[in-house]
Symmetry: C2
Subunit: 99 residues, 2 copies
């Protein structure tokens, strides 16, 4: 499996809007076992996306999906930047959808 | 919802053993919507646990579960330390079990 833990910074006051856009586009992404959008509890402009995919290729392919492309275009103007980014190799646990 | 993103460092050469212990104890934790154990792709001794709970209280209560207490005791000798730790407020996404 392939995993990502990424922090994103919204433009000031735009986090809720950004979270909504990112949460909307998560349906039906082939190979996606987990994709969770969460607000950072300490930084009011930051949010986190933690992802698990069957493999890196399915993650890469997802970026070309029309729904994801549309979300990226919609979100881009209110993304102020990116923070931490960690690649992982998920092993297992609770809450892994059937890819 | 309440979330945690935490990095843990295993004693040298002990990551696989630590990952196995942490993955074993994840069954039947009330309020646990997601609990994923993953190896850090860049640091050979590091691993990540990303968690989503219905609320902070269910996370706190989980630490008292016999299975979790046993896992912590078993893991402690091969934990070298803790790295990043972020508290989050999960909003939604793919792969949230029914709490």
């Amino acid at each position: 499996m392939y995993g990502l833990i990424g922090q994103m910074k919204a433009a000031p006051g735009k986090r809720d809007e950004l979270v909504a856009i990112l949460s909307e586009s998560t349906g039906a992404m082939p190979g996606c076992l987990s994709y969770i959008v969460a607000k950072d509890a300490a930084d009011g402009d930051a949010l986190w996306i933690t992802e698990v995919w069957t493999d890196k290729d399915s993650h890469t392919a997802s970026l070309k999906l029309p729904t994801v492309q549309a979300a990226i275009a919609k979100a881009r103007p209110i993304i102020a930047g990116f923070g931490h980014r960690f690649e992982t190799v998920p092993i297992g646990g609770v809450g892994l959808a059937n890819g």
